[in-house]
Symmetry: C2
Subunit: 193 residues, 2 copies
Amino acid sequence: MTTKVEQKERTHESILESAARLVREKGIGGASVADVMKGAGLTVGGFYAHFRSKEALVDAVLRTTAERLRESLFFEVDDKPEEARIELVLKRYLSAKHRDEYEKGCPFPSVMSEVGTTAECYRGVVAEEISNMAAGLEEHLPTGGALPRKQAALALVALMVGGLGMARALRGTRLSDDVLAACRVVGARAFRG
Amino acid sequence: MTTKVEQKERTHESILESAARLVREKGIGGASVADVMKGAGLTVGGFYAHFRSKEALVDAVLRTTAERLRESLFFEVDDKPEEARIELVLKRYLSAKHRDEYEKGCPFPSVMSEVGTTAECYRGVVAEEISNMAAGLEEHLPTGGALPRKQAALALVALMVGGLGMARALRGTRLSDDVLAACRVVGARAFRG
DNA sequence: CCTTTCACATGATGAGCATCATATTATACA
DNA sequence: TGTATAATATGATGCTCATCATGTGAAAGG
């Protein structure tokens, strides 16, 4: 019995993993259930034994990828002196590597437009996870800045997600690197204590 | 003969107008050719007498809507004292009205994700128009700031487009208004001379 | 060893998509 | 008035999509 249960859990996980990759690479609409299953080494038919619907799958993808992003973004940040923390986070998030390696990075730039237009059902999850991300940043913002920390953190999220999204859309053009650099510099300057 | 030519021009214009509305409301993938034509009071078949392809249509939409955005964003901004100009632009762009009236506003939040993932063919137009928007902002940034104006302008575009995109995705939640306010305040503070 | 169960595959359903071939209809000009 | 032109409509093409009904094979538990 354990064998079967374990096997199912492993399959479930590998479907989720494949979806996490595809959703970040091609957005929600671009990640078809068939492709997700193929990415997991399976065929379409089995999908509904693991997820109630594509919507449930994407919901799970957003939760897990957002959490993993926070982990890697804030990893060992507290070892740095207070003034350098935000700079480190910005360097990690607004890097050429993060721009180019879609499938391992932040999911928001890949889905934000869709959630704003045709995929409104994910508004709740996105609100939760954006809120979590802002809370994470807030912890690391220097105290005693000129602005309420909550406000600063929220604007920082917008700058980061907006900047990475634009840099990805412009990937290959000269502007792309410029956008990353500009957001890094301005972000660090604006949120210094 | 003139009657016929004029009629065709008018139809062309109304197809473009309908597409401009739909692309901003539903994104590129969400704006089907059939719906665009219905919005212009026509049926699918006639479309290819006016545009070579859907791609050509969307290209035209991005150009015209971006230009109209710039016009309304910078309208009479020079009448204001130098220090107040950026604040006025931010107030216009990051407003609840602009967030809610998709079909009349900025096209970028509606298409940025798609251009970054599955609609890469529009990368060139988007680069051009983002560049134009940054140049417009650059003109109105106060001189003698701590940063190169080009860099400041580019980061400002990212903050604005990112902030509006997030606010639209979160529309209806408490976070949505907070994002707009945060970006307005931070933007104004960061780019004061 | 045999029966039950269930993960997964096969194949179908009905919808929506961009594009196009053909038909219609109204205007433009001889 | 009649013929040519071309804008738009009708209807079809072949595709992809999410979802599901049914089949199959292997493992679980008696």
